[in-house]
């Protein structure tokens, strides 16, 4: 019997494990793991897998912004209708409904400042129901998805007798 939560926690942390590696680590048969993962995908519990990349260390220019959006909810559909529309933009990498002073939080990956400004002015602000926006640019990422961006320290444990 596979512990579903143990499996999910493991692959959430590392999506690159092979079936055999997962099976060994959680003490299950590879065939069972394969079936469990297929089931979890069918149930929309496993949605996809990405790789955490430190783009600052590459030659690609990339700017990330967090955009707060205040909106008027649409009758019957609430906030979902506008959220669905905004999620259609490929550069919107995350969209959350928030409590507090605004309604939707978008995370947007753009090439540069102008790119993001044009998205906010042309695509977000002009949507029906959008009352206002506030855009925050990310200056530096320290940690994302539980992964630290600083270079990994080597094992600095010293020799000791025990």
């Amino acid at each position: 019997m596979i512990d579903q939560i143990e499996l999910l926690k493991l692959i959430e942390k590392n999506s690159q494990l092979t079936l055999a590696e997962i099976a060994t680590q959680i003490g299950a048969a590879a065939a069972d793991v394969e079936k469990e993962i297929a089931d979890l995908k069918a149930q929309n519990i496993i949605l996809g897998a990405t790789t955490q990349i430190n783009w600052d260390e590459t030659t690609l220019d990339r700017v990330t912004a967090m955009i707060e959006v205040r909106i008027t909810p649409v009758r019957e559909k609430g906030f979902d209708k506008l959220a669905d529309i905004l999620c259609e933009y490929e550069n919107v990498t995350a969209c959350y409904l928030m409590s507090g002073g605004f309604d939707l939080m978008l995370i947007y990956e753009g090439k540069n400042l102008r790119d993001i400004a044009s998205f906010v002015y042309d695509k977000v602000a002009t949507q029906e129901g959008v009352l206002s926006t506030a855009t925050h640019f990310i200056l530096r990422k320290y940690k994302d998805n539980g992964i630290l961006f600083k270079t990994k320290d080597s094992d600095d444990r010293q020799a000791i007798v025990l």
Binding site: E6, K9, L10, E21, T24, Q25, I26, G27, D155, R157, A159, I160, V161, L162
Partner: protein, 396 residues
């Protein structure tokens, strides 16, 4: 005129060989890019909330000696933790002493109990300090060699056979270093029965790895038998379970008649355990369960990878359910433990420790620590399979 220092050193100290683990560390430290699976300490950094509690105590100016046996609130946090986890009640005032790691606890327990010539039963293979502590206290170690076919558990008949009129106390440590063996309450019950037949024998129970148990959420201890509670000195601490080795903080729980005598030695030799660490331990003992669980789950994943790796390398290993060690047999390679470790280090750059470092019963075994990153463990296991393959082909 040169001084003959050998005549100046006490015999008992001079005759004590240095730990055999050291040799492999020294060899490994001279080589580049060595993967070390030889270290008996967690690779995790102490959880932040525990570090922060220590830092805050410094900010608040707690930089003085604590009372000899420890701050009341630190001892209370320990007793509350033991009540919660073990369901044993200890009085923080008289039955609890905060020590500089578990090692101090072992040392002062041995010194408090031993008269010259007293026999002390030591359950091997074990932590290298037991025998040394007994010998430094002028006791006579009597070794029980536990066996792989018994999963390195202590068998009641082995204990019975080792007891004589001179037996003063017994030292055992489960979950065990170097074997990873665990003794459940069911396993301990027959040991309790033997001890009930010999009411004069005291037990030193080293339970430093109590939270690193992959078979049961509940720690097992001889102290949990009410009829033995007052004959057990529990040595425990935060180093292994909470990744707090550098804090040097541990504790002793036991009957007040013994703890008070141990406190006397602690008073004269140590004064008090570090104050900063005593504040950090409150956070660990009170709010550390989730952090321990995270580390335990990660160790458990690594444990299974190590066991699979050993299987792939054709080495026989009993399934360890505790601590962070595997203790496979390397007898089928035809090499001795030392040869195996040395050749493995030289040809594959992976450091592990020969089982003989932990007593004669470790002959033919090696200790592999999985307190190392998964990446390093996987690479090391790959190299191990290559190495044993080369041995089989006669290339080593």
């Amino acid at each position: 005129m040169s001084i003959d220092y050998s005549s100046k050193i006490s015999e008992v100290v001079g005759n004590m060989p240095p730990s055999a683990i050291r040799k492999f560390f020294d060899l490994a430290s001279e080589m580049d890019d060595v993967i070390s699976l030889s270290i008996g300490e967690p690779d995790f950094v102490t959880p932040w909330s525990i570090r922060e509690a220590g830092i805050n105590s410094l900010k608040d100016g707690y930089t003085h000696y604590s009372p000899n046996s420890g701050y009341t609130k630190s001892k209370q946090a320990i007793c509350d933790y033991i009540k919660r986890r073990y369901d044993i009640e200890y009085d923080q005032k008289t039955e609890c002493l905060i020590t500089v790691g578990g090692s101090e606890g072992i040392d002062i327990a041995a010194r408090a109990l031993t008269n010259p010539g007293d026999e002390v039963i030591i359950v091997e293979p074990c932590f290298v300090a037991y025998k040394a502590a007994v010998t430094f206290a002028h006791g006579t170690p009597v070794v029980i060699s536990t066996k792989q076919e018994n999963d390195f558990k202590l068998m009641p008949e082995e204990l019975e056979a080792a007891i004589t009129d001179k037996t003063k106390y017994i030292i055992l440590g489960y979950p065990g270093n170097p074997t990873g063996a665990v003794m459940t309450m069911e396993d301990l019950a027959p040991i309790r029965d033997v001890l009930m037949k010999h009411p004069e024998i005291i037990v030193i129970s080293d339970e430093l790895y109590c939270e690193l148990n992959y078979i049961s959420d509940e720690p097992s201890s001889l102290a949990r038998f009410p009829e033995l509670r007052d004959r057990v000195i529990m040595i425990n601490g935060f180093s292994k379970s909470y990744a707090m080795t550098g804090f040097r903080i541990g504790y002793v729980l036991g009957p007040k008649e013994i703890v008070s005598q141990m406190t006397k030695i602690h008073q004269y030799c140590i004064m008090s355990a570090p104050s900063m660490a005593q504040f950090a331990l409150i956070e660990a003992a009170t709010n550390g369960d989730d952090e321990v669980k995270k580390m335990r789950d990660e160790y458990n994943h690594r444990r299974r990878v190590i066991l699979q790796g050993l299987k792939d390398a054709g080495l026989e290993c009993f399934v360890p359910y505790g601590a962070f060690y595997a203790f496979p047999s390397i007898k089928n390679t035809g090499l001795t433990s030392e040869e195996f470790c040395e050749k493995f280090l030289m040809s594959k750059k992976v450091a592990i420790v020969p089982g003989t470092a932990f007593g004669v019963s470790g002959t033919g075994h090696v200790r592999i620590s999985y307190a190392a990153s998964m990446e390093n463990i996987k690479t090391a296991m790959k190299r191990l399979a290559e190495f044993t393959d080369e041995i089989r082909k006669g290339l080593v």
